[in-house]
Symmetry: C2
Subunit: 450 residues, 2 copies
């Protein structure tokens, strides 16, 4: 089994690098999985990382390169010659090779491709680079095992021996016709259990899910999840088998999708991480802060319009942050539920049932919350008064309005083909702040008559 | 290939169910994938769904059952007898069978198990039910193909024929010793390319990642993602191969994890969906709303302590929603970045670099934002004044404090073994509301001297 990457081992590796103890280092790294070595390199100084990369075989470093953090990989690639990168590319599966090539400048890309030794590999890579990276064509690899429907079982085994020798793992044996059109798959079961003379045609399974070369990564992720697929074949416009997509690439897409919704809700415009630099972090955060600021100014202007209240009922102003916050919280909750249900494709029922549901739920919540606040304002103010009633009543209205905005704005965006997640977080919070303040003072004005 | 589930087909199926046209319905459903049939059933009236289930073979319905929405499945299961459920269970892989049994009452569970015909299958299921559902033991299935290291290649093929005949798909061929201890894996490549008399011992690949039977689902998800595994073998305390976990189960865990963080940030205490009933939705939302309310009352009390300001500088109160909102937004952004980096395991650098980074970033953001607000208050108030300065300056301080709280509270929780996502959303927003208001009025009091 692979050696596990413990903290002690981590420290030992670092020491060996400092001592430039190449032989011992090689012995240790040889036992580690490339993903573990990548984890070590991500944590090293850049020069040390280069030292390790140059020490190891391109067979191993190619797999390490694939697993590195984008930032580390970028710097490592900048320090390798085109010929060295081409050697790494030669070792990688076509889909991973293309991913790395995408990160190079146009001129370097051309140089690297010119240095690839295996011409067939280079052809495949060039073909894959034509596709949009977010489509099946951009995601797929060319490495797969296929057999002709007219072969016998024996021919299959012989041909597969040749094909399989090139690939690390065989997930599915595809069956194609003479024109390379995908017909189905041959299970290991049939391969093992049928007689050697049986033609493939008689034993293959024609039920197979495939995706079209232009399908988007999100569609592919949905299909693979729905049908629990580990690999899915990609076919072109005339049904020919042109590649396959494996679940590990799709897991990243599923994760990125879920994380993107979270980021939008948290008011981040980019996929930033704690390790990014100050400039990247600030750029991702500032747009929403400015939006919040505009909302705040809007709320201030609205309150300015009710300035008579300062004289007659100054205590009204004590509750503005609460009104704004509750509106924001309810709105974010409603929109999060909708966005997630939309993302999972399990939103049912029509607009009216949804409307009824949101209003009922908002009513129950607001009754509890308004009851509490009525009790509280009563308590601190000593006796029943109209302000307590204004706060409690407007809170009820604000919660209902916020729930409706939070529910129907994302639904509306989704209908128009806009990402509903846009309507979560700061966006909903900010608009609910303004609406909330306005509703609150408007109700106060009517009831208290200032 | 499988028939695709189009909208027309959907409608046609519904019509056939209404007409109780069993023969045509069967013909159509026969061409569909169970996941597609489940999608149709999820959208049907409950009685219609039962009609379809009773119409089809248990071989198909078992797979449909697995794919149904939890709510629909619960109702379907309630309408099937223990014997009927046992027939479904007989057709399912052990891990899926256990998932369904978990949803039954204790008494019904026992009845169903007593009705399972295949004794070996029942034994495996009973064994799996002993494990915590969130551990490797609870996730794994018993279905796998294994060969003994002492067998020759030919014996392997013969034995595998027997084993593989039982299973739909073979992902990995495991190699074990005489005590069933996991030794490695046999690639299809070696199986196809070595001579029939070669012992497995000489050709198997000893590099294999495995998980321990007590490992948590999150650990398993991390390992499978890190090493790009499609299946991972599960070993017990003495290294024996006891089951395997497939990536499709783990994809759900990865998705649930990402969604859980999102839900916490949005102030939902449960994994609710838009289709859940009003009571479930309200219960998931109310705790955070009450927290927000308490925060709002806290803010009101703090402002009450600065009531002199009503007389001297009432315009200060116009900006409280903005101060509170900005504190909340910055805090949520900071905590989201940390929570996500922690979840992805790529948080680097020590506390001091992080502190420096957050303060720099907050400073840049607050300079931009304060500049804007200073200009704005200036503009609406006609001339430079101290209140504009108070607002701009406190905004700077509030942003820095909020960024630090948002960053270090989740880090602290994580260190103490508490889910850092707890510190996102309403929790951070609420505490930042209170801190923000206090800082604002405190600074105002010092500068304006009321």
């Amino acid at each position: 089994m692979n050696q596990e990457l413990t903290k002690d081992l981590f420290r030992q590796i670092k020491e060996l690098i400092d001592q430039k103890n190449a032989s011992e280092l090689e012995a240790i790294l040889h036992e580690l999985h490339p993903a573990d070595i990548a984890e070590v390199l991500d944590d090293l100084d850049f020069k040390q990382a280069i030292y390790v990369i140059k020490l190891l075989d391109s067979e191993v470093t190619a797999d390490i390169l694939k697993e590195l953090d984008e930032d580390t990989r970028e710097r490592v690639l900048q320090n390798l010659s085109s010929k060295e990168i081409a050697e790494e590319i030669d070792e990688l599966d076509t889909d991973d090779a293309v991913d790395i090539l995408y990160e190079l400048s146009e001129s370097k890309k051309a140089e690297v491709i010119a240095h690839i030794e295996d011409v067939e590999h280079a052809k495949d890579i060039v073909e894959l680079m034509r596709f949009d990276p977010d489509t099946a064509g951009g995601l797929m690899g060319k490495e797969l095992v296929k057999v002709n429907e007219n072969w016998t079982n024996m021919t299959c085994v012989r041909e597969m021996r040749k094909q399989a020798a090139e690939f690390d793992r065989v997930h599915t044996i595809y069956v194609v016709d003479d024109h390379d059109v995908l017909k189905g798959r041959l299970s290991l079961k049939s391969l093992l259990t049928t007689s050697t003379k049986t033609p493939v045609k008689e034993v293959y399974n024609p039920k197979i899910h495939s995706v079209h070369i232009n399908d988007s990564d999100e569609e592919i992720a949905q299909i693979m999840q729905k049908y629990d697929l580990f690999v899915v074949p990609v076919v072109d416009e005339i049904g020919r088998l042109v590649g396959q997509i494996t679940i590990d690439d799709v897991v990243d897409i599923i994760k990125d999708e879920a994380e993107k919704d979270y980021q939008m809700a948290a008011g981040l415009t980019d996929d930033v991480e704690a390790n990014d630099n100050i400039w990247e972090l600030t750029r991702a955060r500032l747009p929403w802060l400015v939006l919040g600021l505009i909302g705040g100014m809007g709320a201030a202007s609205i309150m300015g319009g009710f300035e008579d209240a300062f004289e007659t009922h100054p205590e009204l102003f004590l509750f503005t942050p609460m009104i704004a916050a509750m509106g924001g919280n309810v709105g974010v909750q409603s929109s999060a539920i909708i966005v997630q249900s939309l993302a999972n494709g399990n939103l049912k029922g029509n607009v009216w049932t949804r409307l009824f549901k949101e209003i009922s739920m908002a009513l129950i919540s607001s009754l509890v919350v308004s009851g509490l606040i009525y009790g509280f304002t009563h308590f601190i103010q000593g006796q029943p008064n109209q302000v307590s009633f204004v706060v409690a009543f407007s809170l009820t209205v604000v919660i209902i309005v916020a729930a409706l905005i939070g529910t129907f704005v994302p639904l509306l965006l989704d209908k128009r083909g806009i990402d509903p997640a846009l309507a979560t977080g700061p966006f909903i919070t900010t608009s609910n702040d303004i609406f909330g303040i306005f509703i609150y003072f408007y109700i106060a004005k009517i009831i208290l008559g200032f």
